[in-house]
């Protein structure tokens, strides 16, 4: 049973008792990583089912390539809960099944090849006009007001609509305007699984049941009447010569939902937070928009949203620390990207940093399959925001809130700007 975050005992020593849901860790994990990197460097905790947390770039890179000694069968950062059928009570999934991120070789390869063509640079470019129009429409909604919540009204609204557009499902399923969490939308589902659900297994189960019902109906509809959308293409595809069944199609839709929404939403929000609080960087990007692609990579480095999970299937030793078989390991890509051994002055955003082998999208065979889509969404979102509202600042009277754990980013971000 999960404990409410505010009811947990405070962290003593981060090296032996870290808590990835601690509000201080969510708000600003950099100083905690710096301390651990110097003296630990692989931390351990018994909290949230127990796990290990590397903090150095070289260690994270080495661990990411230990396939299959570190298995992807548990890609989430908390222990799995079995998902049951709401009617029969039968277990549908004992652990997350979102191929290929939950898959090991040899199944990983065919499951990845099935989806990669939809996310190549060429394929992603076909979604750019939709994304630009969407970002413009969002700015239209608040530009005359002189203020907005950059997280809720802008960053949060882009990835679910792009994913709905890509999948060929009703855009109104993405989110609905208004405050709070709109029921029966992708935003509610993602937060119910990964954000609020990470520390609340009952919510995670109930949310998963809703999502299974939704994708099940969408897949059945395409099976009966195929179109030219992503789901219909999935059903026409194959896994090393074997046909794609409905279960695999539902699992793949789940992957796009889980991997493609709060991740990019968080990245866009963090980038806006940075530019709202660092006017020099904002003014430079307004003056030199050609720097935006490099700036996006640098913002991904400093504000990497995603930590992934792995399961040790054998004893693994890294940097002198032995991780016993059966342990969960948190792939701390965000901390790797702040390692001074790899990045000089690692906590500073250098808009045109030339040497930047960041691992925000992971490294090795599980490199984020949607990285080109995320990169396009970030570039378009920031480009539109900077063009339309070049002089935006943080509204210091309002609160900024951060969520963290599996995915870190701002959830409220009050911004003010001169009305156009």
């Amino acid at each position: 049973m999960a404990t409410a975050p505010d009811a947990r005992p405070p962290v003593g020593d981060w090296a032996t008792d870290y808590d990835i849901f601690d509000p201080a860790y969510c708000a600003d994990p950099g100083p905690i990583w710096a301390d651990l990197r110097d003296r630990c460097p692989v931390a351990h905790t018994e909290r949230w089912g127990g796990s290990y947390l590397p903090t150095r770039y070289e260690d994270v890179a080495e661990l990411a390539r230990l396939v299959p000694a570190l298995s992807n069968q548990l890609p989430i950062v908390v222990p799995p809960v079995p998902i049951t059928d709401p009617v029969t009570g039968e277990v549908i999934r004992a652990r997350p099944h979102i191929p290929p991120i939950s898959s090991d070789p040899p199944f990983h390869g065919p499951a990845r090849r099935l989806i990669l063509p939809a996310f190549s640079p060429q394929a992603v470019a076909t979604h750019e006009p939709y994304t630009r129009d969407l970002a413009d429409r969002l700015v239209d909604g608040f530009a005359a007001r002189g203020r907005c919540d950059g997280a809720v009204e802008f960053a949060q609204q882009i990835p679910p609509r792009v994913i709905a557009h890509l999948l060929g499902v009703d855009e109104n399923r993405a989110d609905r305007p208004g405050s709070g969490v709109s029921p029966d939308t992708m935003i509610e589902w993602v937060r119910g699984l990964l954000e609020f659900g990470a520390t609340n297994p009952e919510l995670r189960i109930a949310t998963a049941q809703k999502i299974f019902a939704f994708w099940g109906a969408e897949v059945a509809e395409r099976r009966a009447q195929p179109g030219d959308d992503f789901i219909s293409e999935l059903l026409r595809g194959d896994l090393d010569g074997e046909p794609v069944d409905d279960d695999h199609a539902v699992a793949t839709c789940n992957l796009l939902l889980i991997a493609g929404i709060d991740t990019t939403w968080s990245s866009i929000g963090s980038a806006l937070w940075h530019l709202a609080t660092h006017p020099g960087d904002r003014e430079r990007l307004v003056a030199e928009p050609e720097l935006l692609p490099m700036a996006v990579e640098e913002l991904l480095r400093v504000y990497s949203p995603v930590t992934m999970g792995r399961l040790a299937t054998e004893d693994v030793t890294v940097d002198g620390v032995t991780i016993p078989a059966g342990s969960r390991v948190l792939m701390n890509f965000p901390a790797a990207n702040r390692d001074p051994a790899q990045f000089p002055d690692p906590d500073t955003v250098v808009i045109d940093r030339a040497h930047n082998r960041h691992v925000a999208f992971g490294i090795g065979i599980h490199r984020c399959a949607g990285s080109n889509l995320a990169r396009m969404e970030m570039q378009v979102a920031l480009s539109v925001f900077l063009e339309r509202l070049p002089e935006f600042h943080l509204d210091v009277t309002g609160p900024v809130t951060w969520c963290g754990g599996q995915v870190r980013g701002p959830r409220t971000l009050p911004l003010v700007f001169p009305t156009p």
């Binding site: 990579e297 082998r357 490199r367 080109n372």
Partner: protein, 66 residues
């Protein structure tokens, strides 16, 4: 100067392609290779070095004397 991509190391990050589209091409799965014969014109040498310095997999290889 010549540039090439080690196909054993490339994981399809596309960092090289986004930084130097003149020098790289990607297949339908996103895996990169050098465009043409990999010869880098002098005016693109800096872009080639940038592509190599941004590959998280160390898959972009520069031969300065190629």
């Amino acid at each position: 100067m010549k540039v090439r991509v080690d196909p054993e190391k490339c994981q399809g990050h596309n960092r090289c392609y986004s930084l130097a589209p003149e020098l790289f091409e990607v297949d339908d799965y996103g895996y990169a290779s050098a465009a043409g014969d990999g010869v880098v014109p002098p005016e693109l040498a800096e872009k080639a070095r940038l592509a190599a310095a941004n590959c998280p997999e160390y898959a972009v290889i520069i031969d300065e004397d190629g």
